[in-house]
């Protein structure tokens, strides 16, 4: 049983006002627009789906899908890989670089390939694009995969990935391949209904304050023939 006690910080003391920033910035704000839907929501607490499944094992490494977290617009999934033998020292990282990948077709063997497939046939892998950041202006092809946080010790590596949008009903597939560690292409299927059901339970911490992004688009012109523009 869980009991939750919310603590509201109510009226502040006379001398506490110095701690609080101004209610609104007084300088003119930049024009802003809502954060695009393919960016992981900033204000949401996701609902979790427990799907711990070992995806593959080799003589050197085992890799598992650890959990799914559903947001209103997409979901994240966690991967965990464990070396069979611990690596001592931190001077050599056994893990392939998760950063930008080369443009040509020869992806190094030590890069972990990750992919997601939806029941409607759409799919995406981490070789499709560079994980350089979100493109806020151009909607990406669906589904969209974005590398998230990662951590590693001498023996264990965990990585979180973000997928937009939510999947259609039916089976969805997670695929990994890691040639340098003897992991052939391996997949696990998860019922998308688990994610869709969880998405209905996610929580928006600031429902009245959506995330915004600076809007640098050109200002609309009222009459082109007159050449006049208006703010």
């Amino acid at each position: 049983m869980i009991t939750a006690i919310m603590c509201h910080s109510g009226a502040m003391g006379f001398f506490d006002r110095a701690l609080r920033p101004p209610a609104r910035p007084t300088e003119p704000r930049r024009r802003q627009r809502p954060m695009p839907a393919w960016v992981k929501p900033e204000t949401e607490v996701p609902a979790v789906v427990e799907v711990a499944r070992v995806m593959a094992r080799s003589d050197r490494l085992a890799i598992a899908l650890t959990e799914l977290r559903a947001y209103s617009t997409g979901f994240s999934f966690g991967l965990c890989s464990v070396l069979r033998v611990a690596v001592s020292g931190l001077s050599h990282s056994p893990w392939g670089p998760p950063g930008p990948l080369p443009d040509d077709e020869d992806v190094p063997d030590d890069v972990l390939r990750v992919g997601v497939g939806f029941a409607d046939g759409a799919s995406v892998t981490n070789l499709d694009r560079r994980f350089g950041g979100y493109d806020l202006d151009n909607e990406p092809r669906r589904p969209f995969l974005m590398y998230g946080s990662a951590g590693s010790s001498g023996r264990r590596y965990t990585a979180d990935h973000w997928v937009w949008p939510l999947p259609p009903p039916g089976p969805m597939t997670f695929v990994v391949e890691w040639p340098a560690f003897g992991i052939a292409e391996s997949r696990v299927e998860v019922d998308a209904g688990l994610v869709l059901g969880a998405a209905a339970r996610c929580l928006d911490l600031w429902p009245g304050e959506p995330s915004m992004v600076d809007d640098w688009s050109p200002v609309a012109s009222i009459s082109e023939s007159s050449g006049a523009t208006a703010d």
Binding site: G10, R84, S153
Partner: protein, 219 residues
């Protein structure tokens, strides 16, 4: 776990100070008189390397002020302890660099910056642990006499900060309180209560990544 000291702390429901010592204000236990030792490989208190943890579904808001909210976003049980994650989300994004939420705090120092987000747990046996504790000083090669709370990484933007922590050992049965305080953001000490049984039950179901078999749970 040792220590039978009962800690009294009072929820400041209206943000005003009470006379009772706050959870994060009380003096932390002095470290035992032993030289600081570097732990050996895979110490007993470390997160198990080969386990697939079991999710504990306790995500919930914990505290808020006019300008910020703190929520528990996740918890995962291992056979010997648990990870938890929290997020802190501001009402409005702040201009400038990423949210400077966790300035370095020197454990044992007298002054804790107001901008430092305090987190901790109160266990049913009266022991407690916070991120103000000097956990390195408490270590013993075969384990620790006191619970440990270790930061496990974090990331942030101009509006949201996410942080992970590792807690050792598993909490004793009964209620366990997760406590936070964030003075600079107007969040007075607040807590949510969790049934330790949820964590302990999950800890008994972790899997070994190599065998897929249940991990051995240390009684």
């Amino acid at each position: 776990m040792g220590g039978g000291r009962t800690q009294q702390w009072i929820l400041a429901a209206d943000g005003c100070h009470s006379d009772a010592v706050g959870f994060f204000d009380q003096p932390r236990p002095a470290p035992p008189p032993q030289p600081r030792r570097r732990p050996g490989p895979v110490p007993a208190w470390a997160k198990p390397d080969t386990e697939i943890p079991v999710v504990v579904d306790i995500a919930q808001p914990v505290a808020r002020s006019a300008e910020a909210m703190i929520a528990l976003t996740g918890m995962r049980a291992y056979s010997t302890g648990f990870e938890f994650e929290l997020c802190a989300v501001l009402r409005w994004a702040e201009d400038g660099p990423s949210l400077p939420t966790w300035p370095t705090h020197d454990p044992g120092a007298d002054d804790v910056p107001d901008r430092f987000l305090r987190v901790g747990f109160q266990f049913s046996d009266g022991t407690s642990v916070t991120n103000l504790d000097d956990w390195l000083a408490d270590l013993d090669p075969d384990g620790s006499h006191r619970p440990l709370l270790v930061s496990g990484g974090s990331q942030g933007s101009s509006r949201r900060y996410d942080a992970r922590y590792w807690v050792w050992p598993l909490p004793p049965p009964g209620p366990v309180s997760f406590v936070v305080e964030w003075p600079a953001r107007g969040i007075a000490e607040a807590h949510v209560e969790i049934d330790a049984g949820l964590i302990r039950d999950a800890a008994a179901r972790t899997l070994d990544v190599w065998t897929g078999e249940p991990s051995i749970v240390d009684g």
